[in-house]
């Protein structure tokens, strides 16, 4: 089978797997916010069709896009359009599934991208293993269902790297790299760090390729010089004017914008001249210049909220994420409330949540490229893979970076670790086949590889199948599964989507109009559960245990006070029902004592 066919097969398999397994997945706190924002965006797109002149006005845009403007609009636009088309117009999907459909597409797209990148180093079976392994991590499979941004940004990150790698060899891909980077910026703010993984490689390769040609070297210096000079001038402006004044005077006709335009124009012109002198050097540098120009352009164009106020709203957006809150998080028996956080948190959390049969080949794969780096045998591609495997993990590992969110914030590292795992699989299979071959004729290398891949994937598949809809609770064999993680003192769950595990009981056992306190669930989640037929519409959500006949408590160490308040308010310490995953309490239902 050709690589192209396999890539498509992976895409469709992933897409339908996600679509078919979507229904049991509850709505996370953030997902319900995105549902609401997406619907608001969709109404604006409908206005754009019916009344374009009205739609372009600042008031209409602000009304539609102001809610949840701490995240860019790409995914919410797609969620909203999908909702209108597949639920409101065609009525072929329930509201949540229609909203989530674009998320499935982005998650499914990840597999052919991983496959394509892995094929640069390894054979088809190992590359298929790498691609599938992304969805065999229970938490990743869970997040792939959500109308959220963590998996889409991971996909856009990998897409950008994919395009960049292609651009080194093929014409026009430098444009695609810039566009892909723009889409990544439009998906989530993690995208800014893609550049960090590429710049060292581009500078090194550009330096190597222009060695022989003084003209190419001069252009190489010129391109870098223009952008460095532009950045220095911005620095000077900040020093002279101060940040707030610089932003306040950053208008369409201002030196600030002119500097950006001139820098990009001169940089682009020099890069174009380089093409005539040294095509390989051009193909190395052009993607970065393209990212500098097309990235912000796509980012600006995709988000109507920026159209009338590009600078101050972008500045607010960046500032929001630079000063993000720290949420309390349970880790090894302690509540992490504020920085500095443990350096090893990310690595430990990865080891405790990624199935060990996938984690070990990832570690061995990374060890392999590290060893090749020490031996000075590392190829440029391997360097890029290793840099991207490390980037997000290293970034979140910094003790001052917010540590909540389980593993989702370093998802962009995982596809590259999957790629490296494929190498371990291939080497290991070759080693086993070489050992077993003389003893058993059937033990050919391809067969051993497939068998080993199946064996490595099987435990991860079982774990995923058992807990994927409660993915934020999943823990690996190293942790001892969910029970082991509970004993270790790890965060039991987050995002409050596990409520879905007790809805059937509530629907069956609540009396009409029962007053229920849904701990940690906001009104949007309850609204969405009712709108999607998952929760009876007559139950009345209330604001606390005191007003409730029934309390649905989400087990978190940082919220034990709420459970004990429930004992106090309801006059009982005895739950009536609960979601207990592998015996670990997740959602606990209390009823007022008669």
């Amino acid at each position: 089978m050709t690589d192209r066919k396999i890539a498509w097969a992976l895409f469709f398999a992933a897409f339908f797997a996600l679509l078919m397994t979507e229904q049991p997945v509850g709505f996370g706190r953030d997902e319900s916010v995105y549902f609401h924002a997406a619907e608001s965006h969709a109404r604006w797109f409908q206005l754009l069709v019916t009344s374009p002149s009205q739609a372009f006005k600042d008031e209409a845009i602000t009304q539609a896009f102001d809610f949840n403007h701490e995240h860019p609009a790409l995914m919410k636009n797609l969620f909203g359009i999908s909702y209108v088309v597949f639920h409101e117009k065609l009525n072929v999907l329930r509201p949540a599934a229609a909203m989530r459909l674009p998320a499935f597409l982005f998650a499914a797209w990840m597999l052919p991208l991983i496959f394509g990148l892995t094929r640069r180093l390894f054979g088809q079976p190992a590359s298929i293993f790498a691609a599938l392994s992304f969805l065999l991590v229970p938490r990743q499979f869970f997040h792939s269902h959500l109308a959220a941004f963590d998996v889409p940004i991971a996909t856009m990150w990998v897409l950008t790297i994919y395009c960049f790698v292609e651009a080194l060899e093929k014409p026009r891909w430098w444009i695609y790299t810039g566009l892909a980077f723009g889409l990544a910026l439009a998906a989530k703010h993690n995208a800014y760090f893609i550049v960090v993984t590429l710049v060292p490689f581009i500078l090194w390769r550009g330096w190597q390729l222009t060695k022989a040609s003084p003209e190419a070297r001069a252009l190489f210096f010129g391109i870098n010089g223009v952008f460095v000079f532009g950045a220095a001038l911005y620095g000077l402006m900040v020093a002279v004017l101060g940040g707030p004044k610089l932003l306040a005077t950053f208008e369409f006709q201002s030196p600030q914008l002119a500097l950006y335009v001139v820098t990009c124009a001169v940089g682009a012109w020099l890069t174009w001249k380089l093409k005539a002198v040294n095509v390989e050097a051009f193909r190395t540098i052009a993607p970065l210049v393209s990212m500098a120009i097309l990235g912000p352009t796509v980012f600006y164009l995709h988000w109507p909220y920026l159209w009338h106020h590009p600078v101050d709203r972008t500045a607010w957006y960046l500032s929001f994420h630079l000063t993000h809150n720290h949420y309390t998080w349970f880790y090894l028996g302690e509540l992490l409330r504020a920085p500095p956080f443990p350096w090893m948190y990310v690595i430990n959390k990865t080891a405790l949540t990624v199935p060990v049969s996938l984690f070990v080949p990832m570690v061995l794969g990374f060890a392999w490229v590290s060893w090749r780096a020490v031996k000075r045998q590392l190829t440029g591609f391997e360097f890029i893979v290793a840099a991207n495997a490390v980037m997000s993990i290293a970034l979140i590992s910094h003790p001052n970076v917010p540590h909540f969110g389980g593993v989702k914030h370093w998802f962009p590292s995982m596809p590259f670790l999957s790629l490296l795992a494929a190498g371990s699989l291939e080497r290991g299979a070759a080693g086993l086949a070489g050992w077993l071959g003389p003893k058993f004729k059937a033990a050919t290398e391809p067969r051993v590889l497939v068998a080993l891949a199946v064996l490595l994937g099987a435990p991860a598949f079982i774990a995923t199948a058992r807990v994927y809809e409660f993915g934020t609770s999943a823990y690996s064999e190293v942790a001892g599964g969910l029970p082991g993680a509970a004993s270790l003192g790890m965060q039991r769950q987050y995002w409050a989507n596990n409520l879905s595990g007790v809805l059937e009981w509530l629907n069956k056992n609540s009396h009409p109009g029962e007053r229920i306190y849904f701990h940690e669930n906001h009104g949007g989640q309850i609204r969405d559960l009712q709108a999607n037929g998952m929760l009876r519409k007559d139950v009345q959500p209330v604001g606390g245990p005191d007003q409730a006949e029934t309390v649905v408590y989400q087990y978190h160490q940082e919220f034990r006070e709420t459970e004990f308040n429930t004992w106090q308010a309801l006059g009982t310490m005895r739950p009536v029902f609960g979601l207990y995953l592998d015996e670990t309490p997740q959602i606990i239902v209390y009823r007022r004592a008669k």
Binding site: S357, A429, G431, L456, P459, E477, E558, R560, E583
Partner: protein, 303 residues
């Protein structure tokens, strides 16, 4: 590295992957066998219902196996929180340890090291599938003479300024409502993951103290524990330390609850003579987030 060495390395890598895959597969297939069947919980509950005595307690091991709460007969206290292995449970003469030793990382060895000293097993352990039930006598038991939270209905509660001026708080049937709107009551609260049914006191602010004043029966020992509830102990900004007074017949001890401290603090008091006049008080310069759970007990030697 030569070809032979590479070959050996690849073989080792393959064997390692194979071993990890098989171990993980065995784990995933075995894990569901650690679940506890509903029927086993019911059988355990029947034994508890038949053999329980007043003052018994059920202790969970591992501490998080709280699904048992659904099944343990009503009125029988169930204890399970991070750190409960070492809880002296001194109010309780007998302890039923309900354990799930087959859980991954169950830590039964560590549990026994913390729990077993001064405890004596009574009869054989009963097993119900993956549940094990074992009764112990509690050598750390001290009969309770008084718990200040239980004395609240008959106590006098008031706000007291440094010059001795007192503003009484009114008994509402469930607690004492003070002139500043705060209520002193017996409530369940969390201090560092553990549940306490305690006196909830809220600092009035400034040098004013909220005081609980009552008469206690004779006791061989007395102690006061106090800690900020929920996350308030973790606060460092916009809060001030609190002082907790424990006064017996005019002899006062003061304990400071510093900011940023989430744990329960303990003060050992004197033996209480019959009819001891006990005053408990709380003050903090800034009342913000200074809600304190106070457990004051008088206990006797076990006979």
């Amino acid at each position: 590295m030569n070809g032979a060495a590479l070959k050996n390395l690849s073989r080792a890598e393959g064997l390692l992957l194979l071993a990890v895959a098989l171990a993980a597969l065995v784990f995933q297939l075995w894990l569901p066998s650690t679940h506890v069947a509903e029927a086993d919980y019911q059988a355990m509950a029947q034994v508890l219902a038949a053999e329980r005595q007043p003052g018994d307690v059920v202790l969970l091991a591992p501490w998080w196996t709280e699904r048992a709460r659904i099944y343990v007969p009503e009125g029988l206290m169930v204890v399970g929180y991070q750190g409960s292995d070492a809880d002296p449970l001194e109010k309780y003469p007998r302890i039923w340890v309900l354990s799930q030793p087959h859980q991954p990382r169950s830590g039964i060895g560590a549990f026994e090291a913390a729990f077993n000293p001064s405890r004596t097993a009574v009869g054989p352990a009963r097993t119900f599938g993956n549940l094990t039930l074992q009764l112990f006598t509690n050598g750390r038991h001290h009969p309770l003479a008084i718990d200040a939270a239980d004395a609240l209905a008959t106590a006098q509660v008031y706000l007291e300024t440094p010059d001795g001026n007192r503003q009484p708080c009114q008994w509402t049937g469930t607690g004492h409502r003070c002139p500043n709107g705060k209520v002193v009551a017996k409530e369940w609260h969390e201090v560092h993951f553990a549940p306490y049914q305690c006196l909830k006191l809220e600092a009035p602010g400034g040098a004013t103290r909220v005081v609980v004043d009552f008469t206690a029966p004779a006791a061989d020992f007395s102690a006061l524990e106090a800690g900020y509830i929920w996350e308030y102990g973790a606060y460092k900004d916009g809060v001030t330390p609190s002082s907790v007074w424990f006064e017996v017949n005019g002899q006062a001890q003061v304990m400071e609850l510093p900011t940023g401290s989430e744990v329960m603090h303990r003060l050992t008091g004197p033996a209480l003579p019959e009819g001891a006049h006990v005053r408990l008080a709380l003050a903090s310069q800034n009342p913000n987030a200074r809600i304190v759970c106070v457990v004051m007990t008088g206990t006797r030697n076990a006979r």
